[in-house]
């Protein structure tokens, strides 16, 4: 079988090398087009919901401290084992946190810790500019994590109901979510309106099992 690699050209096209001229025309056209460059430090990129940036511990307005209950779920689910928690039992048997630290240099930013937290204590903010020249500065202990949260609220103007829709475990029943994840959210934050990839989720073709139907089973 003879494979034809090139399109046939007539003599004039061969002499003028039309393909090269076409290529030159394209580059010349692009010379006058608008560059797509974003001049980064002057011009910040837009942040989208679900961005997994700097870690923060949510400050509880009641206790003025972290919401963490020391259940160790985040430390267990963490694939890179970068969350270090130390606790001791309190008077009424609850766990008291001695240490809550994230070694960000080991973190893979999967966001499992945020998804798995039953009280919504840990979250990831939209801050991404926290590079440093020394390793110690990016080893976040509890104070730094709480300070991260304060600074994030101050800079962006969110209040402490900041829950990122991306971090609600998807596809499950609303009633089976932990209480902290069940707080009222805008309509586009519900299961139907959640982000999947870059598109907002379309209403599914098959019927969703609602809470009442689940109760019947």
């Amino acid at each position: 079988m003879k494979v034809q690699y090139k399109a046939k050209r007539n003599l004039l096209e061969t002499i003028l090398q039309v393909e090269i001229l076409q290529g030159l025309a394209l580059t010349l056209r692009k010379l006058f087009s608008r560059p797509i460059t974003r001049q980064y430090p002057d011009e910040k990129p837009p942040m989208y919901a679900g961005f997994r940036g700097q870690h923060a511990l949510v400050r509880d307005p009641v206790t003025n401290d972290s919401k963490c209950i020391g259940c160790m779920r985040c430390a267990t689910v963490c694939p890179s084992r970068c969350i270090h928690i130390k606790t001791h039992p309190g008077d009424s048997g609850q766990r008291l946190i001695d240490q809550y630290a994230i070694d960000v240099l080991r973190c893979v930013f999967c966001g499992y810790c945020v998804e798995v937290c039953p009280v919504g204590a840990i979250t990831m903010t939209e801050v991404f500019e926290y590079a440093s020249y020394d390793r110690e500065a990016i080893y976040f202990d509890q104070e730094i994590l709480l300070a991260n949260w304060d600074r994030f609220l101050e800079q962006t103007g969110y209040d402490d109901t900041y829950v990122n829709p991306f971090w609600r475990p998807r596809g499950g029943l609303e009633s089976r979510l932990p209480a902290a994840m069940r707080r009222d959210v805008p309509a586009d934050w519900t299961i139907e309106g959640q982000f999947v990839g870059t598109k907002i989720r379309q209403p599914p073709a098959c019927k969703l099992i609602t809470d009442t139907e689940a109760a019947h089973d």
């Binding site: 090269i20 290529g23 030159l24 394209l26 580059t27 010349l28 692009k30 010379l31 006058f32 087009s33 608008r34 560059p35 797509i36 460059t37 001049q39």
Partner: protein, 322 residues
Amino acid sequence: MQILILLLQIAMLLAIVLLHVAYLTYFERKIIGHMQVRMGPMRVGWHGLLQPIADGIKSFFKEDIIPQQADKPLFLAAPIICLVTMLAALAVLPFAEGWVLADINIGLLFIFAMSSLASYGIILAGWASNSKYTFLGGMRSMAQVISYEIPMGLSLVGVMMLSGSLNLSEIVAAQGTSIFSIYLFPQIIGFFVFFIAMLAETNRVPFDLPEAETELVSGYITEYSGMRYALFFMAEYIGMMVIASIGTICFLGGWNGPFAIPFFPPFWFILKVYGFLFVFIWIRATLPRYRYDQLMALGWKLLIPLALLNIFLTGLLKVLVR
């Protein structure tokens, strides 16, 4: 006294040309950037205008590394040979009527000799660095320059026949002042051959095999660093300018333009040279690199026969017109 004036003129020419070289790199980066829908240098100065100066300072203060196994005297001499020969070629270029350092009668031959010598520097650099990449780059450069000197020389034979001179000023004068009497029209085949050979002579895309980044790291300049690297870079860009000047002088009527510019006679010359340089850059932004056997086939099987045909046709034309 005369020598002093001449030295002053040389210094002025060097300063102006080196400044042009510096801003040619800026020009190139900007144009290629915009052709690739980027912006090019933007950070140093307004729209990156001070970038070439920053680059110059940087390469001047960078560490100068000489490989342990290198042939030291040759390694040190190679960039100097490259740059000096290219700078020497500048001496015979007429920028305007009477604006020429050395108005010698073998100007065109002198330029050929100098650009061939520059490739000697490249080969020495490839050999002396004692590295496989530089060696391959040097070998390629040698073969490429030898192959393309021939069509280049032959393509200009037509111009020599028409003007009856090798003196560059006389070649320009022979073309007359009208835009229709420039040698581009009677020598269109010669110009075509010259244009392709010119890209190959200056090691530019699509014939940049001696420094093919994708396969040879950086070709013959792989082992060079700091100011010595910059010398090669300068030699390459001065080479581009010299070849573009030759194209302007031999085919586009040199400093003659549609109307004379008062106080600055080289205006049209510089404009045409920058037109050539723009095409160099434009082609670089467009075309991929030739394969080595294609490069050789193009040179020997297409350009040399075409150039010979051009000489024959020019001779025929001359006989018929007379």
